[in-house]
Symmetry: C2
Subunit: 316 residues, 2 copies
């Protein structure tokens, strides 16, 4: 596989957290995803901004090699979101959402875009996600995300979409709401029954779990004592996960999927250490891999008298 198409929002975010605030900073699901995924793979972004979208934000994405041919500029203002986080940083309180040019967003993909092997349908109207997917020419890997707003208003459209998706990302509260399950594992089980061969449930500071086949893999978050701004954690997770997978040969091998979980975890950890996209704009692969190795090393439970390797211990 190689190359990812992401369809989603590009926004100007104003965020307040106990660590400070940022005003009209670069944001949006497609933005966070693209910046994270571009550390691993070629990314093309499909979205819309208004005439007021700052030139330097476009430049930030271009410097990461993100293909912006699909980022249209429409008459009007860019999508704006503002929110605040309390001490626990787990949930945002939305203060204002101004869809602006995003209100009439309805992407038409170019021929080149239709042929991209990996597609990530970021959090937008599930009917729109389905319409984008219908334009794709037999992609190797289809992934999507969603959010509470669509779970409340269009659950049937999400279920219909999931039948055609390989990897589904959701946070634990959303997954439980969508399925009616009482915990994240049962929610993942139910969601897998609707279609996706891989279900990833994100639990914020408590890490993430992945269901593949009959097995659950649960990983903690990378331990950070201080975070500044949780905005975009889910999309950078998906960006690390899919960016890594798109750079490899396979998404059916469990070793690749476990590494994808670890890269997702690591990209989200970098992201929340600073406001907006500041920390991931210029992140290099060396720093990513260093933290990835540190994470894997902390998680490794050495067997007595040797290392773990499948069910056997390797004598050292």
């Amino acid at each position: 596989m190689s190359g990812i198409l992401v369809v989603g929002s590009v926004a100007l975010d104003s965020v307040k957290t106990p660590a400070g605030k940022s005003i009209e900073a670069l944001g949006g699901s497609a933005t966070y995803f693209a910046l994270a995924a571009s550390c691993f793979s070629k990314v093309a972004l499909v979205g819309v901004v208004g005439e007021d979208f700052p030139r330097e934000h476009r430049r930030t994405l271009e410097l990461r090699g993100v293909d912006l041919a699909g980022l249209k500029t429409a008459k009007g203002k860019t999508f704006r979101w503002s929110g605040k986080y309390g001490k626990d940083a787990s949930t945002a309180t939305t203060l204002a959402t101004d869809l602006n040019v995003f209100k009439t967003f309805s992407p038409e993909l170019s021929d080149a875009q239709r042929k991209t092997p990996v597609v990530f349908l970021a959090n937008i109207d599930p009917d729109l996600q389905s319409s984008v997917l219908a334009q794709m020419k037999s992609p190797a890997l289809v992934a999507c995300d969603t959010m509470n707003y669509w779970i409340d208003s269009k659950p049937a459209a999400i279920k219909k979409l999931l039948a055609k998706v390989d990897v589904f990302f959701a946070n634990d509260q959303e997954a439980m709401k969508l399925t009616g399950a009482v915990n994240a594992l049962l929610a993942a089980e139910a969601l897998a029954g609707w279609g996706p061969s891989v279900v990833v449930i994100k639990k914020g500071e408590h890490g993430a779990l992945m269901k593949v086949g009959s097995k659950f893999f649960v990983f903690p978050a990378y331990p950070l004592a201080r975070i500044k701004d949780p905005t975009g954690a889910g999309d950078t997770f998906a960006g690390g996960f899919l960016g890594y997978l798109a750079s490899t040969a396979s998404h059916k091998d469990i070793s690749y999927l476990k590494r994808a979980m670890a890269y997702g975890t690591i990209m989200a950890s970098f992201n929340v250490e600073n406001f907006s996209t500041k920390n991931i704009e210029e992140l290099d692969r060396g720093a990513i891999d260093e933290r990835f190795h540190d994470f894997a090393e902390r998680l490794a439970v050495p067997l007595e008298g040797g290392l773990l390797r499948g069910r056997r211990a390797i004598p050292v």
Copy 2:
């Protein structure tokens, strides 16, 4: 090291959960701890029961080889606790606490007990924990737990105790309350500053974290989609952790401490799969190690082209 002395409660618990209920079943912090730790090490229990304590409960502990010379029978009734859990199983609502003979519990250790190398001061009055510790003859490893009740009523006594303790166990809410920290990692940092070289913060279904030196190690819970009764999860965790450590040469080597975290996780996972102590009464080491290996295997993030070993990849 070899041999653990546990001082704590032995109780009759009545518990209601969404999965069912149990009435006047075997419970108490010292009981759960002893049953779990005895899968790894010799355990001596110090506690008190009333004249009504069923003969078969004593037998259950004896069958695991738990030394009950320190379990006194006092005039009166055994400590009783009853509680219920909601759907999320994370916190118990206490319905009744009848301390009974436990009210005047004030253990005097025998000469043999004072020489035990490892001691676990389960959740009792911190002044009592200190008085037991003062009776010990230079133990190799001292560990303790506490609970909200003592954090509210005797925080200074807990702080004083922690200065003399090697391993401190607490759940995340308790640790944050005790230290005033806004998250579990900062709480662990603060607690480590008070004395313990190892701080273990339990997060229920979200796993546990350990602070050793300047490093955090975070592990998820063993993935279970269905649990029956969370009672005793914390004490079986401590039992697996210390039982394993007491059976080994060292508690200063990070490999041993990581395995201890994994054994704690596994013992807690078995415990919550059934009511009261049912699941851990006859658990054998083979079943424990099978789940331990499965847990370690799921957590292992294989590096590309090889296995993780320290910072290097071993080609396969």
